[in-house]
């Protein structure tokens, strides 16, 4: 049984042309999948559909074999944790308090219980946020905020993590650490879907790439197959090149 299976998924906003058309793809188990494509290709909308925040016009999205839209809101959030591009920067809470929002799907009691705090500690440890735990979220840098949001998603203890451009505000060091974290989470059994414009990092770190072009899945496979220069140039309208270093590492570059 697939962890995630999309069958002919189609979606359009009211009165507009289809944003996604006939998306069919699956993930059998833990892996890091990079979702790439130009602006407006439907990447964020796809995450909205997977997280149940929007309903598909047609087609189905199955999570562990069950139709996502037949699953209750809280149960769905225990299966899928969605991290949007950013939340309001002026949120007046501490890092710990932001991370603990990930426990809302586990109960609406007024206070968090011991399990909630154990999940928070694990998330803090994995994202190396121990030094920040008492600091105000609003006082953090963009990169630190992004790590906190990932930690909150981890605290949700969902097997599927959806991340929308998580490295958009990060410097190279934090960006590399974040991808390292994704791989570590995959090794712990998570399925990670990351929307990204950083194709070179996706090529190096992702197990698989879903390449979206005008709402359609143009390619699905390991980076070397899904990111062929000719396909990428057709989608992004700039030339791409693969390079191999003396140590045998491969790199993707673009531009004329």
């Amino acid at each position: 049984m697939s962890l995630l299976a999309l069958e002919n998924l189609t979606f359009s906003y009211p009165g507009r042309a289809a944003v996604l058309t006939g998306i069919t793809a699956a993930a059998l188990g833990p892996e890091v999948i990079a979702i790439a494509g130009p602006n407006g290709a439907g990447k964020s909308t796809l995450l909205d559909l997977l997280s149940g925040q929007r309903r598909p016009e047609s087609g189905t999205c199955r999570l562990q074999g069950r139709d996502a839209h037949q699953i209750g809101r809280e149960e769905l959030c225990r299966l899928v944790a969605h991290v949007p591009q950013m939340i309001p920067g002026d949120v007046p809470f501490t890092v710990e308090e932001v991370i603990l929002t990930g426990r809302i799907p586990y109960g609406r009691g007024l206070y968090e219980n011991e399990d909630d705090h154990a999940a928070m500690e694990l998330a803090i440890e994995r994202t190396r946020l121990n030094d920040f735990r008492d600091r105000r979220f609003s006082k953090l840098s963009g990169g630190e905020k992004q790590r906190v949001l990932v930690a909150a998603a981890l605290c949700q203890q969902a097997p599927i993590l959806l991340l929308d451009e998580p490295s958009a505000h990060l410097d190279p060091e934090n960006e590399a650490q974040l991808w390292e974290l994704f791989r570590a989470l995959r090794d712990c059994g998570h399925l990670i879907l990351v929307v990204t414009h950083h194709l070179a990092l996706a090529a190096q770190n992702a197990d698989r790439v879903w390449l979206l072009d005008r709402g359609q899945l143009a390619a699905d496979g390991p980076p070397c197959d899904a990111m062929r220069p000719a396909d990428l140039e057709r989608v992004f309208h700039v030339p791409f090149h693969w390079h191999r270093s003396a140590e045998g590492r491969v790199f993707l570059t673009y531009g004329r």
């Binding site: 809101r73 959030c77 949007p84 309001p88 009691g109 007024l110 705090h117």
Partner: protein, 326 residues
Amino acid sequence: MADDLRSRARWVLFASLLAAAVTAAVCPFLGGSGMDYGKLWRQESPDWNIFVNLRMPRTLLALLTGAALSGAGTLFQALLRDALATPSTLGVSAAASLGAVTAIAFYPAEETAFPLVWLSALAGAAAVIGLVIALGHLRRFSSFTLLLTGIAVNGICTSLVLLLHSLAGITRSFQITHWLIGGVDAIEYPVLGLLALVLIPVFIWMLRLSRVLNVISYGETWAAGRGVDFRKVTWQGFAAGALLVGGTTAVTGPIAFVGLLVPHLLRRIVGPDYRLLMPASLFGGGAFLVICDTISRSAFAPLEIPVGVTTALLGGPFFVWLLWSR
């Protein structure tokens, strides 16, 4: 941390409850005309009657109204993610006033007793909230759009109130003016009981919602991703706010500043967590209005000044100080 929060919440609840209880217990004894405590103890007129039939219900009304206005302010600030949101945001307060003034202007004086004015004020508040909810179902609105819509609704309702005021005869015009000044007058116990019956379940609902209100602060996408039905909570919150504001405005008339000042002051003391802020706002708002009402009937005794004047004169400068001392 869990124990720390629980312990802080217990302290906040205890301290704010104590503040409300002490003000409610002490303030009825204070006032412009001195009380003969011997007569009061022996339950002799007129002091016993003044205490039981005038000051006690008035104090309890101030307690309920202060809690409702302050709680509604806290609720709207959470739902709209705007620190300047108040019960008058979305035009709820003005619409409740329009409803009440319509009842006073068009119905014979003997019929403009409590139920009719109350129901009209509630209908006004409900109409605005119903309109906002209906528009919200047609398309998504940002908090900013809702706030601007509230300003427009406020303007329209205020103009209609002035129109009714101008067209009303002299007796009605006086009644409208008296009502618009706003104040906490003595009230019959059955009416007070009915008001409590409406307001207290809303207070309990708001207290139970406080952890979800924290998540609402992060915006719709984040809240939805944690399993919170953002739109449902928002509309339920607006409806609760309409009940609080419409219910109290009908009895007391419009009273300014409580919903803005009290939550802001308490946010500085207890922090932004609604699990602490909401109970503090409810009990603190009640205590604040009881104190303001006591000042209103004592400062220029035997004359009384409207409690709305006191809240604005005390609250306005204090609020400016709060903003500038950040």
